[in-house]
């Protein structure tokens, strides 16, 4: 198997990184680097990259540390405020859903018509007679279509509102 490293590799690299290559390197190491494909690659690549790094680093324009710190603090504060607001939105959505549920329960409890219809429907379902239900259902839909539509809409709107509120955060 072809070797992928040489025991003098680190020494060769140090010589380049410490700017000792090629003048201030011992003759034996220089001779080894000339003969070793791995070390000569290391020296060639490290020298080229080291030169380029120094040139690029000298000309790199980076923002002021104070500005980076300030922007980071600002962003962290904004994200923290958002994170605090998130549970409030969820609680508000849950409270809204509870209120709707409570209204529905109150309506159900106070409406004698709904009570009678419900008991009649329960009895009809228990007897497995679907036929007598149809006229009643038709009448119910015809008389209270707006209410039924509103309830159906609520069934979609409440979960959608919760989902959107959570998504927005």
């Amino acid at each position: 198997m072809k070797p992928v490293e040489c025991r003098f590799e680190a020494e060769a690299l140090s010589a380049v990184l410490q700017s000792r290559w090629p003048q201030r390197v011992d003759a034996p190491l220089r001779a080894h680097i000339a003969a070793c494909a791995i070390c000569s690659d290391v020296v060639a690549v490290a020298s080229a990259i080291d030169d380029a790094r120094d040139e690029m680093r000298a000309r790199a324009v980076v923002p002021d540390p104070g500005r980076v710190w300030w922007l980071a603090q600002l962003r962290a504060r904004r994200e923290a405020a958002k994170a605090v607001g998130h549970p409030i939105t969820v609680v508000q959505a849950i409270a809204f859903a509870c209120a709707v549920g409570l209204l529905a329960v109150c309506f159900g409890a106070s409406s004698t018509w709904l009570q009678s219809e419900l008991s009649w429907t329960t009895a009809a379902v228990a007897e497995f007679k679907i036929q007598p239900l149809l006229p009643s259902a038709k009448a119910l839909i015809a008389e209270h279509s707006a209410l039924l539509l509103a309830m159906a809409a609520l069934l979609f709107l409440v979960p959608a509102a919760v989902y959107l509120a959570v998504l927005r955060d």
């Binding site: 690299l13 690659d41 080229a48 990259i49 030169d51 040139e55 980076v62 980076v68 710190w69």
Partner: protein
């Protein structure tokens, strides 16, 4: 300043090591690392503008993590790991240029009046590196510009140290060939 220099700096008393960073500590750390990190980002992404953006984002995420570090080298490794992950994300989102089309013109755009030979050196390395994969660029830069150890490079790039050696060997062979040592071996 290379990783080696940083290690020797660690012999100095650094009260911030092992604690969450304060503004003064951050400023000093930024002064020591920002330029090198920007060059690393520019080199790996091949895009100055993106390097500017990623530099800010890297330091923000680094601060937000509020991690404690055993040493300056550990802290620096964390910073480079954050930067490398951001480059990876940017690449996934298609924000970086495909390596085959990278010319490096952005990176070597230098102010007028600078040393022509220096510009040429930067250009040669940029052009040669543009034929490498982003991960190969990153590992070569960390190894030979930052002087990072194999373990540190593996840690930053999320690789196993054992698999790094052959990968680094292949990337180095490729770059050496591209730089003109053995043109017949260049396989961009």
């Amino acid at each position: 300043m290379t990783y080696t220099d940083i290690r020797s700096d660690c012999t100095l008393e650094d009260a911030s090591v092992g604690s969450v960073m304060e503004e003064d500590t951050f400023r000093a750390f930024y002064e020591r690392t920002a330029r090198g990190l920007w060059v690393y980002l520019a080199r790996v992404t091949g895009d100055r503008q993106l390097a500017d953006d990623l530099l800010q984002e890297t330091f923000y995420r680094f601060l937000r993590a509020a991690a404690t570090h055993d040493s300056e080298a550990h802290r620096r490794n964390s910073l480079y790991r954050v930067a490398t992950n951001l480059v990876r994300d940017a690449r996934r989102r298609g924000l970086t240029r495909a390596h085959a089309s990278l010319t490096g013109d952005d990176i070597e755009r230098l102010p007028s009046g600078v040393d022509a030979a220096a510009t040429e050196r930067v250009t040669d390395v940029t052009r040669a590196m543009s034929h490498l994969k982003p991960r190969e660029r990153a590992m070569l830069w960390l190894a030979y510009a930052e002087g990072a150890s194999h373990r540190e490079i593996a840690d930053v790039l999320g690789l196993r140290p054992a698999s790094l050696k052959p990968m680094l060997f292949r990337a180095r062979r490729k770059l050496a060939a591209l730089l003109g040592r053995a043109p017949d071996e260049a396989k961009p």
